[in-house]
Every structure is written in C-alpha cells, then in structure tokens.
C-alpha cells in the first residue's frame, strides 16, 4: 500500500470511472425502454380503473333508486358485488403498474445522474493527471511536515495542548 503512488491511485480511480461510463449508457437505454413500457402499462391501468369506478358509481345511484327487498334490488345487489370485485382488481393492477413505472423512472434518473457524475469525475481525474496532485496531497503534506493529521484536527486535539498535559 505504501508503494502506491498518487498517479497510480488516480489512474485506478479513473479506470474504474471510465469502465462505468462505458457500462452505463447501455443500461440506460434498456432502462428507458423499460420506463416507456411501464408508463404505458400504468396509463392503461389507470384508465381502466377510472372507467370501472365511474360505472360502479352510476350503478350505485341506480340501486339507491330501487326499493329495498324488491327482486330487482336483490339481483342488482349481487351484480354490485361483482362490480366491486372488478374495481378492486383494477385498483390493484393500477397500483402495481404505477409502482413499476416509478421504479423504472427512478432507475433511469439514477443512471442518468451516474453517467453525468462519471463524466464529471473523468474530467476531474483527467485534469488531476494533467495538472498535478497538490490538491489531493494537502493533508499528506501537512502530516509529513509534522503537522496534525485530519484525525487530530477532527478530534480537536491540538498537539500543543496535549504536550502541556
């Protein structure tokens, strides 16, 4: 570990980023297709659910107009149960498809971000390779010069204070 140079380290990071940058676009494409399918499914399911819901509302209004206990009322009550089951099924389907859509959307967005991040990162690490490692070596240089490490700084344990103790 002690032999690892800053350049080697940066190149390792860069290499990993570049590999990711190659992998992400392919995955992004498939995620986009998946998202489109999910959106269509969700849209259809929503439409179906809304229709069934409207029909059920109308059916309920008609049922209220009938006398309770009449044979037609009894028949419509049985039909209403079927309607309700159908409405519940459509609601469930809609929720499932909507969840799938949201997930696909989230994955697509995350991949898009990752791709952007990779590009930014590659640009940054290439810049480091070109311009030098000073920025990365600030803490290391301070420690080498006898200064406190970031552990000491975060602990607030100034060496002078410790020595006084």
């Amino acid at each position: 570990m002690l032999e690892v140079s800053p350049e080697f380290l940066v190149r390792a990071i860069l290499h990993r980023r570049q590999r990711l940058a190659e992998m992400i676009p392919k995955q992004l494409e498939s995620r986009k297709d998946e998202k489109e399918i999910a959106e269509a499914l969700a849209r259809d399911a929503k439409q179906r659910r809304d229709e069934i819901k409207t029909n059920l509302d109308e059916f309920s209004k008609q049922l209220k107009k009938l006398d309770e206990g009449s044979p037609q009322h009894e028949k419509m009550l049985v039909e209403r149960d079927t309607f309700i089951q159908e409405a519940q099924k459509s609601e469930h389907e809609y929720l499932e498809n909507e969840l799938f859509r949201r997930r696909s959307d989230s994955r697509t967005k995350r991949l898009t971000h990752a791709l952007n991040d990779c590009e930014r990162s590659i640009e940054y690490w290439e810049g480091v390779l070109d311009n030098g490692f000073e920025e990365l070596l600030v803490d290391a240089t301070r420690v080498k010069q006898g200064g406190p490490s970031s552990y000491a700084l975060s602990k607030g344990a100034k060496p002078e204070r410790r020595l006084k103790k």
Binding site: M1, L2, V4, P6, L9, V10, A12, I13, R16, L20, M23, I24, Q27, R107, R110, L111, A114, D117, C118, R120, S121, Y124, F133, E135, L136, L137, V138, D139, A140, T141, V143, K144, G146, G147, P148, S149, S150, Y151, A152, K155, A157, K158, P159, R162, L163
Partner: protein, 673 residues
C-alpha cells in the same frame, strides 16, 4: 534502668522482694514439708474456721431478694421493649457458688440485629430506667453493657447472646448440687483466691470461674474425694451458636462425700496439688476429662514466652499461649488462662507457696485468707541502681548518656534526611515530582544517579512520542488497516446503481495519501515505545530497590527513635536523681529581678517623674498600667497578693515521686469482680 538480676533465676532485686518464695523455690533453697507435717487438731480447727467464714460470707436473704427484684424488674422492661428477647441470669449467683459479693450477670438472648445494635437499644432502655454509669463495651469478644442499679449500687453486666454461659452456669450448679461439701469446697478456694487478690482476670490473674473449675478439677483428681465427671458418658446435646457445642451432661449422680474429709483437708489437698504437682507442665485443667487432659492430646502446647523468660524487664509483654491452660467444659477451644499476664502468673504461684507455708505453720484461716491487696503490678524503685553509686559516677554516667543521645539524635537526623531523599527519588522516578532529590540518599546514591539518567532519557522519549501520537492519534496497526480498507474502497467493483460521488472519491484518495504519510510516524511511535519500555524496566527495578531501601531506612529510624527515647528517659532519670541529691534549689542572686515580667522603667521612677511634673513616655505609661495604675502603685510594691497566689500552685522542685507503676492499673481503674 540497669538493675543486676539474679544470675540463676533472672529475678531483679525488687522482683525477689515481690515473689520471695517463688524465687527461693527456683533457687532450690525453699524447703517445703509435706502434708504429714500438718496436725489433725489444726485441720479440725481450720475446718471450723472455714465453715464459719463461708456461712458468714453467704448472701443474706435480703440481698438475694434485692437481686431477684432487680433481675425481675430488668427482665420485665427489657423483654417488653425488645420483642422476642429473653433475659437470663447466670454466673455464680445462679450456680450457688457465690460469695455474696460481685456483680449480677445477665444474658439477653435475642435474634436479629448485631449485638452492638442491641446493646445500644438496651442502653436506651436502661437510660429510661434511670440506671447509673451505663457503659457499652461493644468491641469485646462477648459484647456487654455495664451499669449500676441506682438504689443498691449493685454492678450489673448484660451480655448479648452469650448462651454458652447459661449452660456453664447450669453445669457448675449441678456440680455444686452433688453435695453441699462440694459447693463449700469450691467456695473455700474462691474465698481464698478472692482474699489474696488473685481472682481478678482484668488484673492479669484468673477469673472466679477459672478458680471454680480448678477447685472442681482438684476434687475430681483427689482419690479421697473422687468427684464424678458429670460430662462423662452423658447424652449428647448439640447446640448451634457461633459454632456447634455439646452441652450434654448428667445432672444427677450418686456421689457420696467421704465423711473423713472436711473443708480444711479439701483445701489442703487443693493447695498441695498445685504446690507439689504443678499440673500445667504437661496437662490442661479439664473437668470435662475428669480433672486433667494432656497438653499433647489437647494440642495446647506452651507458647513462647513463658513468664520466667520475661524476667526481669519484660513482664509487660504478653504471656505465651496456654501458659496455665484451663479448658472451658463446653467451649473446648476457650482457654480460661489466656487472660493471665506474666506478673499474674508469678503471683499465683507465689500465693500457692505462701498458703502452703501458712498451713505448715498452722496459721489460722483469717491469716491464710488475710485480705491483702496483692499487687500484681511490679513496683520499681526508679533510682535503685543509682543509690549505691557516688555522685561523680552518676555525673559521668549522665555525661555518657548525653553523648550517646547527641550521637543518636544526629544519626536520626541523617536517617531522616536520607529517608526523605529516597522518598523524593522514588517520587521523581515515578514522575510525581519534577526535580530529583537534592540531598544524598546514602548508599543508594549510585542508583539515584542511574534513576536521574534514565528519567531524563525517559522524559525526552516520552515527550517525543507524545508529540507524534498527538499528531497522528491512531496507532500504527490501525493506520495499516485503514490504509488497506481505503484502497479497497477506492478500487472495488461498483454497482452502477451505487456509485460514490466525486467528492467522496476525492476524500478517500486524500485520506489514502495522508495515511501513507502517517505510516512512518506510527512506526516511529512504535520504536519510541520500545525504547521507553527498555528504559522503564531497569527504572522499575531501581524503584523497587529504593522502596526496599526506604523501608529499611524507616526501620532504622524507628529503632533510632526508640533508642533516643530510651536515652532521653535515662537522661531525665539521671537528672532527677542529681537534683534530688543536690537538694532543693537555692534562690539565685537575681531571681527577683528575673521574675519581674515588666522590663521597662521602675514604677517608683515613674512616680517621681509624675510628682516632679515631667512628661511621661509611652514606656512610663505602660509601666503604670502593668502595676495597676497610679492608685495601686504603692500597694503593689513587689509583695502583692496576686504574686502569692501565683506562687501557691507551683510545685516544689524537690518533690519527686520515686515509685511508678503500669498505666491503667491505678486504684481508679480497678473494678469489683
């Protein structure tokens, strides 16, 4: 005090006066005739005298009633206020072996808190009952509370949960009940011991209870009496107190007193046994075993030192264990002779001899049991060794003591300074002191230098290490571990959905490079620690050595202080003797002038000044005030009442006490048994 002791016995001359018969016996110059020299007619007369004494000393009905009334009064109050408690009477009054004197022994049996807490509760009850002189002795083996009944002045002891004493009382009572003559024989021995002042356990002789056991044992051993052993073949009766005790005994026996024997023959046999056949050489007195039991079987060997070993100057030391062993019949590990002090032991032996000689001389009982405050406290003539010496010799001795004292004191100062320096060196080595000791620490100086060197190296290294540790905080192994972990996190395969941010990557890369820089510092800390350890090891060795040296020095100091104290006492003694021999102090020429407190102008001069109208200084005014003002000046002309009063209390410098005893044994500290 240097007194020439007897080369054969070790007795000093004052001890020879105190225990003359014992001294003669040890020298082999005491001729003791046997029992055949005592005439029948004398024994008959003696027996009558003893019987009469025992009858007269028995407790009157009024006394018995008063004791019973007090006991019932206390029993009612204490048992009422301490739920579940039982107050029992025990001791010689209960066992019918009382001489009509002595205190009332009570025992409170109660479950619950510690005896000391119970005693405090009893104290409150007794205070309410307006008892006098209440004193709690809570630290004794058997905690007791002592007090006096206000009307009769009867001393009473209450012990807590001392149940074994109740069983002992019952056993003694059963022995006393075997025959009236047994009880009277015991009372004869107790009367004699009491009259001769050798039944005072707190004074270093034996308790009355021990004398009772000795009397019973003597009767068990006497073939003419053959007092039965009530514990022999008795059914076991195990009780559990602080330990398990077998308190079984046969309360009935078919014992018949030999009609040929009377109280005089019984007493003569008792004294004869302890004069001619001192049983304690090989045996232990044990009524449980029919009189005696061998020391070997009992495993009570004579402890060091014996009383004779402590002659002439060490009689204030503790007597060796089991010097005159008397086994308690139930508490088998309890030796009633443990209270003996060396002087008490010697006095008891002297009294046996004195009694035997008295019997041989046909002395009446009144003479044999003459009330004499036999002092077990050896009295010293402080100046005994100086009396025959010439004054020049005493002065030379005084000078020698002064020289020795000066030498010892100087030595003490050196020891003290060295001990202080050693202590400082230890403190310095332990880091509890900033500077090394200034003074020499004697033979340990080399070590001190070593310590100083090691300490300064150690301080340097510690300071370096602390500075580095302060910078890097984490240890070298932790640096290596974190370095590896960080590198793994930088290079590990990533899930595309879980990619670290650029900032996080920068942080990790920076940390990795920082850890690389920290690594050699961590290694340097390790190296410094190793060096510190290498220095600390011998340093600790030196500290250990210095600790030993300090202890040794402390011992030397103690010895030195003892020696100095001894010499100071000797100096004081010699100076006292010189003052005594020189007679009372003659008044010195300028004593009156020296005695005058005020050193300012004379009052008469001030008065003259006043009369002449001169101005007075502050000193003059002060002189006036010292003499009570202008009006009193005439009256206090060096012969005032005040002066007389002041001198009245002053002791005469020649009024020296030449006798001294042991602390705590004055008449104020004695108590009734």
């Amino acid at each position: 005090m240097s007194e020439k002791p007897c080369p054969h016995t070790g007795f000093s001359s004052s001890q020879q006066k105190q225990w003359p018969l014992l001294h003669s016996q040890l020298l082999g110059t005491l001729e003791l005739e046997g029992m055949e020299s005592i005439s029948e007619s004398y024994l008959k007369q003696l027996s009558e005298e003893i019987s009469s004494t025992i009858q007269n000393s028995a407790m009157s009905r009024e006394e018995t009633k008063a004791r019973e009334r007090i006991y019932q009064h206390l029993k009612h109050n204490i048992e009422h206020k301490l739920a579940g408690s039982k107050l029992h009477a025990f001791g010689s009054t209960q066992s019918q072996t009382s001489l009509g004197v002595g205190d009332l022994d009570l025992c409170l049996v109660v479950n619950g808190p510690s005896p000391r807490k119970i005693l405090n509760k009893i104290r409150n009850i007794l205070t309410e009952l307006e008892m006098n002189e209440i004193e709690v002795i809570g630290r004794a083996k058997v905690p007791i509370i002592k007090f006096k009944e206000p009307e009769t002045g009867l001393p009473i002891d209450i012990s807590v949960n001392n149940e074994l004493a109740l069983y002992n009382t019952e056993l003694i009572r059963s022995y006393a009940d075997t025959h009236p003559m047994v009880r009277n024989a015991v009372l004869t021995v107790k009367f004699w011991a009491s009259s001769r002042g050798i039944n005072q356990a707190f004074m270093g002789t034996l308790s009355s209870y021990a004398w009772t056991l000795m009397a019973l044992a003597a009767m068990q051993l006497d073939p003419k009496v053959q007092l039965p052993n009530l514990q022999k073949n008795a059914d076991k009766n195990i009780i559990r107190l602080d330990d398990e005790y077998d308190v079984g005994y046969n309360s009935e026996s078919n014992f018949e007193w030999n009609p040929e024997l009377d109280l005089a023959t019984s007493f003569v046999a008792f004294i004869h046994r302890f004069v001619f056949d001192w049983p304690f050489e090989e045996d232990v007195i044990s009524i449980r075993n029919g009189g005696t039991l061998s020391r070997k079987d009992k495993n009570w060997n004579q402890g060091e030192p014996e009383a004779f070993d402590l002659l002439p100057d060490s009689l204030d030391r503790r007597l060796g264990l089991h010097s005159m062993p008397i086994e308690d019949p139930f508490s088998l590990n309890h030796d009633l002779g443990r209270v003996l002090r060396p002087s008490g032991y010697l006095t008891i032996r002297e009294e046996f001899l004195k009694a035997w000689l008295g019997l041989l001389k046909s002395e009446p009982w009144s003479e044999l049991s003459k009330k004499e405050n036999v002092s077990v406290i050896e009295e010293f003539d402080l100046f005994e060794d100086l009396r025959p010496r010439a004054m020049d010799e005493v002065h030379a001795l005084h000078q020698e003591v002064l020289d020795n004292l000066s030498r010892v004191e100087e030595e003490g100062r050196t020891f003290s300074a060295q001990r202080k320096s050693i202590s400082q060196a230890i403190q310095f080595a332990l880091g509890k002191r900033d500077t090394p000791p200034q003074g020499s620490i004697g033979p340990e100086d080399d070590r001190s230098e070593e310590i100083n060197d090691s300490k300064s190296q150690l301080d340097d290294l510690t300071s370096q290490r602390d500075e580095l540790v302060g910078n890097i905080i984490i240890s070298s192994p932790k640096i290596s571990e974190t370095l590896r972990q960080t590198f793994d996190r930088i290079t590990e395969q990533l899930d595309v959905m879980n990619i670290p941010s650029l900032e996080r990557e920068q942080e990790l890369a920076s940390l990795f490079l920082e850890l690389q820089s920290m690594h050699p510092i961590g290694k340097e800390v390790d190296r410094l620690n190793r060096e510190i350890h290498l220095i600390k090891k011998p340093l600790h060795g030196n500290i250990k050595h210095l600790n030993k040296a300090e202890k040794k020095m402390k011992r030397s100091l103690r010895t030195n202080k003892k020696e100095a104290k001894k010499l100071r006492r000797e100096k004081g003694r010699l100076e006292s003797w010189i003052r005594i021999k020189n007679g009372p102090k003659k008044p010195r020429k300028n004593d009156r002038q020296r005695g005058r407190k005020h050193r300012g102008p004379k009052p008469s001069d001030v008065k003259k000044k006043m009369d002449s109208g001169e101005s007075l200084s502050m000193e003059d005014l002060s002189a006036l005030l010292q003499h009570g003002g202008v009006l009193n000046m005439d009256a206090k002309n060096g012969n005032s009442r005040q002066g007389k009063r002041k001198n009245k209390g002053k002791s005469n410098s020649s009024n020296y006490q030449v006798k001294r005893g042991k602390r705590g044994k004055g008449k104020h500290n004695q108590r009734r048994d």
